[in-house]
């Protein structure tokens, strides 16, 4: 085989390897590092705490609502091998798994709820003394999904060649549903369910290392979940505040 033809085939092979981001590689990168859901509270600090004690009881979390690891599935892909031009495009769907989180999910909700009540609740949260009320929380939905698009082309004509590829991640949609039941003894006195949704920004700037882009995508998904938890926890605390204000 002619030496220059060999070189061109080698170059086109290298370009394709560099350009086509495999499903397994993205999945590996999304799962490679866990990210913290920690956030800063910005709710109004409660001036007055009344004497009512609420104990944070069970947190229901069906661990099957979210997979253990993040999953990447091919939605559609095509590859056009023309004589002098190769074009490829792949659209993948990424679903968040527990491996993305540093924290244990129900424990994170418990501690975040306690911190929020200490900050903006007009009641006290206590588990040691005999509480006036108990509150049960249930994580009913926790889902973050988003696309990942990889596309590019390679061309060559005699001794000239060139290639370009781009990977775009997101926007991902993160949804969280949490319900609560406030109980006095065995009797449910107040309950409600809250939903929060956050759409991440699309990551479309040029990364020299696509592994970093994919890890940033995972970080943005966790950031969205963190926002949703903050939002829902504030809503639940406000709801219980309103109930207790009416009772005092």
């Amino acid at each position: 085989m002619n030496k220059s033809v060999k070189s061109l085939l080698l170059l086109s092979g290298l370009a394709l390897i560099a350009g086509c981001t495999s499903t397994k590689k993205i999945q590996r990168n999304l799962n490679s590092k866990s990210h913290s859901m920690a956030y800063l509270m910005d709710s109004k600090i409660s001036d007055v705490k009344n004497n009512i004690n609420v104990a944070l009881d069970t947190i229901y979390f069906n661990s099957n609502i979210i997979s253990d690891t993040s999953i990447v599935k091919k939605k559609k892909s095509w590859f056009i091998p023309l004589v002098v031009v190769y074009v490829w495009h792949a659209q993948l769907d990424c679903s968040q798994g527990k491996s993305m989180f540093t924290e244990n999910i129900p424990e994170f909700l418990r501690y975040s709820m306690m911190d929020e009540v200490k900050r903006s609740g007009n009641f006290s949260i206590d588990t040691l003394n005999y509480p006036d009320y108990t509150v049960e929380l249930s994580i009913d939905e926790l889902k973050t999904e988003g696309p990942y698009i990889s596309s590019g082309f390679f061309y060559f004509a005699l001794y000239a060649y060139g290639y370009s590829y781009s990977d775009v991640a997101g926007p991902a949609i993160s949804k969280l549903d949490v319900s609560y039941r406030l109980k006095r003894g065995d009797q449910v006195v107040c309950s409600n369910s809250f939903h929060s949704q956050k759409i991440t920004r699309q990551i479309n700037r040029k990364y020299t290392n696509l592994n970093i882009l994919q890890q940033d995508y995972a970080a943005s998904m966790v950031e969205a979940v963190s926002y949703n938890f903050k939002n829902v926890i504030e809503l639940i605390t406000n709801d219980i505040n309103s109930y207790i204000s009416n009772k005092v």
């Binding site: 920690a38 800063l40 509270m41 970080a219 966790v222």
Partner: protein
Amino acid sequence: MFNYKLISMIKKLFFLLLTLISLQTFANIGINPDFWIISQKVYNNRVSKGKDVILYRYIIVADFDKNYKNIFNTKDEDALLSMFSYMLYKNKTSLIEKYIANYDPSLKINTLISAMYYFSKKEYSKSIAYLLTFENKKYSFLKQLLLADCNYELLSDKNNFNSVIKLYQDALDTAETEQYKALVNNRIKFIKYR
């Protein structure tokens, strides 16, 4: 003839480059490449123009005073901080060292200035020691933010940052403007994406 034209063009490009560099309105704080010092006015300008303020960890000071050579002739605490901040911004090493060696310790602002000095040298433990002894409501946000940044920088494992969240929370709770709150939240973003 051609060489002369080429040299002339290179000279012009060099001066243009120098001008562009000198026009930059924020710079590293002293020799610390991880943080940027900026005046409130310039920061407002960057925010209003939609420029990226997320990926930089800014230390915002009220003002820069270009008459920094007067730093030995004034007792005005705000002026001292503005002049010293300008010296850090321009990295006037010898003058900074001279001021730190000769300042009046009875002026409380010099405790904050010392903290900023050690911060600019990445000597975070010394910076914390000064910050903990400094009390001034006017600069409480700057103090809390520097404290949180110092403690974060001292973490041996930067991925395990939960211990400094409380300190950033303290900074956020002392922030009096939405802009300062955003500044603290951007620190968390920086930490999460680093």
